[in-house]
């Protein structure tokens, strides 16, 4: 069998050599260079420069390992790699042919003389288990109380043919992620930002991802069915096999899970040139936008609610009486299971009992996961509820959960420019602000998690009449997570932030004659702040919050060059209508250590959304701190844009 295939191959190669002397002879420089310039070849090598059709630029592959390349200089020289690959395939080396099935498949289509070769058992078993037919882009979005996850994540799910929607859980996924070693959050952040990690693709069943993202992390998932042909999906899987254990360069901002997923899709259809759209940084939600924007690339989207979202839906559809009963069921001591029937479920019809048990179980599961309770009592309790529920023999009566009006990619773009005019201490000014990512409490909430704010590297430059331009504020990081409490949910609200800001402070200097002189100086202070507290939903859906926070200031103008204080903040964020939003806040900080002083602040901001990516914001503020009372107002125009070409 084998010898027959090989002799057939030799015949074919011989025939092709006669018939197509020049174009199929890779030894000829012109032919191999023209092949290696092809976008498809360069995509398979993950070259940095991907032109949709061809490019002769040096490859500079993103792959961080020599073992992926057959030529010692393969990472930089696509032509040398192509020649080495063809040489290897022609030599009949089965293990190399079976290691690079995507390269082999494409080269065979370009070089008719190249033999098909025999079966590859491990590869064939792997591919037939995955059974690739169609692909779906999976986007797990925000996790309540974890704003860092607001940037989202993307992975790809490969579905077999004729897969009913009910059985998608057993499909396999391709996921790119950094290879971490369980470091603490700061090490992780630093290494991730500055390229201290490699990244790899891994393959796992979708149910593993759903359990992780949906149940354990409470992230809603959006699934976008892609319009890739079965042949394209099969080639994607073959290329994935080539990428097993292969490390890539990883940078949190621009060489991450989403950028490499775009590259992966580009390898099967280089004309898409998705990766090229993002020359700066790559946010997962922006890559979803880019893919959806391609005509016909997405067939439809499906919403998969998280455990928390399903719980909220169930609570909303349960009567107040049964809600109370569910809480009672949840409070039953598992060592006295008879209390379940005699007290918690007493006098309820079987339908009411099953509704109560369903709510109680979901609530218990949510809490057990959140509190990381792995004790036997909690497990016994959960099992008792399930057993009791099975005995009732009914189905779940909950009406289906409608998907949110706005999927994440329909929210405002992630980059913001703001142009404003205002008045401060009797002088007019113009202000320019630039924020690369992401969302603040007043920006239009559609597609974003309410109450979650992430600001990163926002810069504000203020030009005051007669006094010139100055850096008003540099917000390195400002995160606010305000999640409302209820009978069922008791999250803590918290904030953290640091940066630099311009302050006006009154200083007391001694003149040469020894007299005291009061001046108001402008200075730049560094600040770091953190706070925690609670939020609650009030009438009309307004979010009320109260936080206690601490703040550390550093600056030459301060006594002892620093100041440490603490105090409360109270506020409300309200959506007055579809376009109008309001935020009012008051806060006080008493600085006791270092430069002793008080800092009081009250502000009111009103936002009007002109459309998804354009808004007006009017803010008035009064501050009293460092001996200076200051009133100001500002009117800004906000423009949201995408960081792409």
């Amino acid at each position: 069998m084998v010898s027959l295939c090989r002799s057939t191959a030799i015949l074919l190669i011989g025939a092709s050599r006669v018939a197509f002397a020049q174009s199929t002879e890779p030894a000829s420089d012109r032919a191999s260079r023209s092949l290696s310039d092809d976008a498809q070849w360069r995509a398979l090598l993950h070259c940095a420069e991907i032109h949709p059709e061809r490019s002769a630029a040096p490859c500079r592959s993103k792959i961080n390992s020599g073992s992926f390349f057959l030529d010692p200089n393969g990472a930089n020289d696509a032509e040398a790699e192509l020649r080495a690959t063809v040489r290897a395939f022609r030599s009949g080396a089965t293990d190399l042919r079976c290691r690079y099935p995507a390269r082999h498949g494409w080269l065979r289509s370009q070089l008719p003389g190249l033999a098909e070769g025999g079966p590859c058992p491990a590869l064939d078993e792997w591919v037939s288990t995955i059974a690739p037919e169609s692909a779906t882009l999976v986007f797990p979005s925000t996790f309540v109380n974890n704003p860092a996850s607001a940037f989202g994540h993307t992975l790809l799910r490969i579905d077999p043919a004729a897969q009913p929607p009910d059985s998608r859980l057993a499909s396999y996924t391709a996921n790119f992620a950094a290879r971490t070693h369980g470091e603490n959050a700061f090490s992780y952040a630093l290494k991730g930002l500055f390229g201290g990690y490699d990244g790899v693709f891994s393959v796992a069943p979708y149910y593993q991802k759903v359990t992780q993202y949906s149940d354990l992390e409470n992230r809603d998932i959006w699934e976008y069915d892609l319009n890739l042909s079965p042949d394209e999906v099969r080639r994607l899987v073959l290329h994935l096999w080539e990428l097993r254990e292969i490390p890539f360069v990883y940078y949190y901002f621009d060489e991450n899970c989403s950028s490499y997923l775009l590259s992966l899709i580009d390898t099967v259809r280089p004309s898409l040139a998705l990766r090229r759209e993002f020359p700066l940084w790559v946010l997962p939600v922006d890559t979803v936008r880019a893919i959806i924007a391609r005509e016909g690339l997405v067939k439809r989207s499906i919403f998969r609610p998280s455990l928390a979202t399903k719980l909220r839906h169930r609570i909303a559809h349960t009567s107040p009486t049964l809600r109370e009963r569910a809480l009672r069921v949840a409070a039953v001591d598992p060592s006295n299971p008879e209390h379940l029937d005699h007290e918690a479920l007493a006098d309820l019809s079987p339908d009411e009992q099953s509704d109560t048990l369903d709510l109680a179980y979901d609530y218990l599961t949510y809490n057990r996961i959140l509190s990381r309770d792995e004790g036997n009592a909690a497990k016994r309790h959960s099992w008792q509820l399930l057993s009791r529920r099975a005995q009732l023999g009914r189905k779940d009566a909950l009406p289906p959960l409608p998907p949110p009006r706005f999927s994440p990619e329909r929210g405002h773009e992630t980059m913001r420019l703001a142009l404003g005019i205002g008045r401060e201490a009797g002088r007019w000014f113009t202000q320019y602000r630039f924020r690369p990512v992401f969302h603040d409490q007043l920006d239009r909430a559609a597609g974003y998690l309410p109450g979650a704010q992430i600001i990163f590297l926002e810069t504000a430059i203020r030009q005051i009449e007669e006094a010139g331009a100055r850096l008003q504020e540099l917000t390195v990081l400002d995160i606010e997570s305000l999640s409302p409490r209820s009978r069922f949910f008791r999250p803590r609200s918290w904030t953290v932030g640091f940066g630099a800001q311009r302050r006006r402070l009154r200083s007391h200097a001694l003149t040469a004659e020894g007299a005291k002189r009061d001046t108001i100086d402008e200075t730049t202070l560094l600040y770091g702040k953190a706070g925690a507290g609670i939020s609650a939903l009030g009438p009309g859906g307004a979010l009320y919050y109260g936080l206690i926070g601490a703040q550390l200031l550093q600056g030459d103008a301060l006594d002892q060059n620093f100041s440490l204080g603490a105090g409360p903040r109270l506020g409300v964020i309200a959506q007055l209508s579809d376009r109008f939003a309001l935020r009012a806040e008051g806060g006080a900080l008493h600085y006791e250590i270092g430069d002793r002083h008080n800092d009081l602040r009250a502000n009111l901001a009103l936002q009007y959304a002109l459309n998804t990516n354009l808004a007006l914001r009017f803010t008035i503020e009064r501050t009293q701190g460092f001996g200076v009372r200051s009133d100001g107002g500002l009117l800004e125009l906000h423009y949201f844009l995408r960081p792409t070409k």
Binding site: A177, S371, S481
Partner: protein, 163 residues
Amino acid sequence: MKRNVLVLLAALAIPQIGWAESNNVGSCGWGSKLFDGQRGVAPQVLAATTNGTSGNQTFAVTSGTSGCSQDGVVRSTWKTAAFIDANMNRLALDMSRGEGESLGSLAGLMGVAPADQHAFAAKLQGNFAQIFTNSAVSSADVAQGLKNVLAADDQLAKYSANV
């Protein structure tokens, strides 16, 4: 890759000693327990650590590459065994309610015909206590219970071999 193929071949060659478990979950040596492994994620400020691959993220999709010997067993039943082992909590919930996506996926993996699916779900709900026998039941025991419950039903007995 070549090494994994050799491992698979070697595993198939070794005779099965002590073939006590008559379902695939047990023979693969898995044994996750009900309600285990459900630790949630503590709030993270700076890191989306959940997107990292710390842990045993692999490429393994088939029996050979994960060290589970499958002497003559059809690949689909291996997938079923893996599914039961990894989805205990969701399966318990779905079975108690007589419906659900995980239960539907299990039926799909086991090749349950559309005409039998209603009976399948109802049977398992009615016999929940024989399958999820206690709060710390292992996946091997769940698979065995499932197998027995199906085997005892005229309409569904043909699926019991698929567990």
